[in-house]
C-alpha cells in the first residue's frame, strides 16, 4: 500500500535493510557506507570512541572520497 507517510521507527535488524535500500545505486562504496553507519551507531552508544572510529575508516574514506573531513578526527591525527 502506498503510504509514504507511515514509515516506522524500525528496530535495528530491520534498519539494516532500510539502510541498504537507501544506499542502493549510490555512486560510492555501498559496503563502506553500511559498515560506517553501523559503527557510527556504536560510537553513539559508547561502544567505540571517535578516535577508534576515525582511525578504522580513515584509509578507506580517503581512498573512496579523496578526503576525510569527518569531525571525529582526533587531536593531532596525522592526516596523511
Amino acid at each position: 500500500m502506498n503510504e509514504p507517510q507511515q514509515p516506522k521507527l524500525t528496530p535495528l535488524p530491520e534498519w539494516e535493510e532500510e539502510a541498504e535500500a537507501m544506499l542502493e545505486d549510490v555512486d560510492y562504496d555501498k559496503d563502506l557506507g553500511m559498515r560506517m553507519a553501523r559503527d557510527a551507531l556504536r560510537v553513539s552508544n559508547g561502544e567505540m570512541t571517535d578516535e577508534e572510529f576515525h582511525e578504522k575508516y580513515h584509509e578507506d574514506v580517503l581512498a573512496e572520497f579523496g578526503e576525510d573531513n569527518r569531525p571525529t578526527k582526533p587531536e593531532g591525527f596525522d592526516d596523511e
Binding site: E3, L9, L23, L32, M36, N45
Partner: protein, 308 residues
C-alpha cells in the same frame, strides 16, 4: 551557550498534519518528500489503532497515538560522524545542519540515521507551484536534506514553522541550556522520552507521554526567548507592556490599506521594527505592537478575555 531543542507533547498532538504541511511550505521542500511526518502509533496504516475492536458489551482496548517525526537533532549524531566531507555537522547551538554546497550525495548519513529523517534529491527538485514556496531557496539535485529547526527563522528570532502553526499547541521549541525555558521545564516536570534512547544518540527532541502539558499557546511567531528579552528590555513596566489581548495588537494591522489595488503592506515582524537592544521602555512598548504579543509565560494560557 545555547542548545536548541524541541518538546512534542503526544498527549496534545491530534495527528492533523498541519506541522507536516507548514514545514514543507516554509522550507520549500520538493514534491515527493516530507521532512516532518506524522506517524501513527497503532495499526499498520495511518490513523488506525492497534488491538481488536471491542466485542459487544466489552470495553475497548484499542490504542492509537501520533508521533510527529523529523530530524531529532541528536547531540551525539551518527549522521555527523560518517560524513566524509563534513557537510553534515552540529552547530554550536545544537542544531544539526547540512552544508548543501559540500554535500556530495553519498547518502552515508541517511544510512546512519536510525530515525529515517533524511531525504535525498534524486532528481531536480520539483515544486508546486513551480517557483517554490516559503522563505528559503531550494536545495540542489544530488543532495541530502532534512529538518533544520528552521534555522533561517530561528536566526531572526522566530520559532520554527511547525511550532507556530500547531493548532494543538503541542510543539515547543527552545533552549535546553536555559533552565527556565519551557522545554527545560517540561523535560524536568513531565514524563518525556527520546526516540530510540538506547542507541545513545541523545536527541534534542523529547516526546511527552502520560500527563498532558499545557503546551505553548502560540500567540505570535516569536521565539520564547524573544519575549523574555522583551520583558528585560522593559524593566519595571513589563506588566503593562509585554502582553495582552486587544487594542495593542491591532494598533498596527498587517494590512493598512484594504483598497482593491491589492499591493500594500510590508511585513511588520520583529526584525524590521526592532533594533531593540538599547530601546527605552516606552519605545519597547511601541515596538511590541509591531507584532502580536504572546503571553510571555508560556504555560499559562490567557483565558480570561475582555469579552463577555
Amino acid at each position: 551557550m545555547t542548545d536548541y531543542g524541541m518538546v512534542i507533547d503526544q498527549e496534545r498532538c491530534i495527528g492533523c498534519h498541519a506541522c507536516a504541511v507548514t514545514c514543507k511550505q516554509e522550507n520549500n521542500v520538493p514534491m515527493g518528500q516530507y521532512w516532518n511526518r506524522i506517524l501513527t502509533e497503532g495499526g499498520e496504516h495511518l490513523d488506525t489503532p492497534e488491538g481488536g475492536y471491542p466485542e459487544p458489551g466489552e470495553s475497548s482496548s484499542l490504542d492509537m497515538a501520533f508521533q510527529p517525526t523529523a530530524c531529532q537533532h541528536c547531540s551525539n549524531a551518527p549522521c555527523v560522524k560518517v560524513c566524509p566531507v563534513n557537510a553534515t555537522y552540529t552547530r554550536d547551538d545544537g542544531i544539526v545542519e547540512i552544508d548543501y554546497d559540500k554535500c556530495i550525495g553519498c547518502r552515508y548519513c541517511m544510512a546512519a540515521c536510525p530515525y529515517n529523517a533524511r531525504v535525498f534529491n534524486w532528481g531536480e527538485p520539483e515544486h508546486r507551484p513551480e517557483s517554490g514556496t516559503g522563505d528559503i531557496e531550494s536545495r540542489p539535485r544530488g543532495t541530502v536534506e532534512k529538518c533544520t529547526f528552521c534555522t533561517h527563522r530561528v536566526e531572526e528570532g522566530l520559532d520554527p514553522a511547525c511550532v507556530v502553526n500547531c493548532p494543538a499547541d503541542a510543539r515547543i521549541f527552545g533552549d535546553f541550556d536555559d533552565e527556565t525555558s519551557t522545554v527545560s521545564e517540561y523535560v524536568n516536570d513531565y514524563d518525556t522520552h527520546q526516540l530510540l534512547d538506547d542507541l545513545g544518540t541523545d536527541p534534542n527532541t523529547y516526546y511527552v507521554k502520560g500527563e498532558m502539558t499545557p503546551g505553548r499557546p502560540q500567540k505570535g511567531e516569536k521565539m520564547e526567548s524573544e519575549y523574555d528579552l522583551d520583558r528585560e528590555d522593559t524593566t519595571g513596566t513589563s506588566a503593562e507592556t509585554t502582553n495582552t489581548t486587544g487594542t495593542e495588537t491591532s494598533a498596527e494591522p498587517a494590512n493598512t490599506t484594504g483598497t482593491s489595488t491589492g499591493t500594500e503592506t510590508t511585513n511588520t515582524t520583529e526584525t524590521e521594527s526592532a533594533p531593540a537592544a538599547n530601546t527605552s521602555a516606552t519605545d519597547a512598548a511601541g515596538a511590541n505592537t509591531s507584532n502580536s504579543l504572546a503571553d510571555p509565560v508560556p504555560h499559562v494560557p490567557t483565558v480570561d478575555g475582555g469579552t463577555s
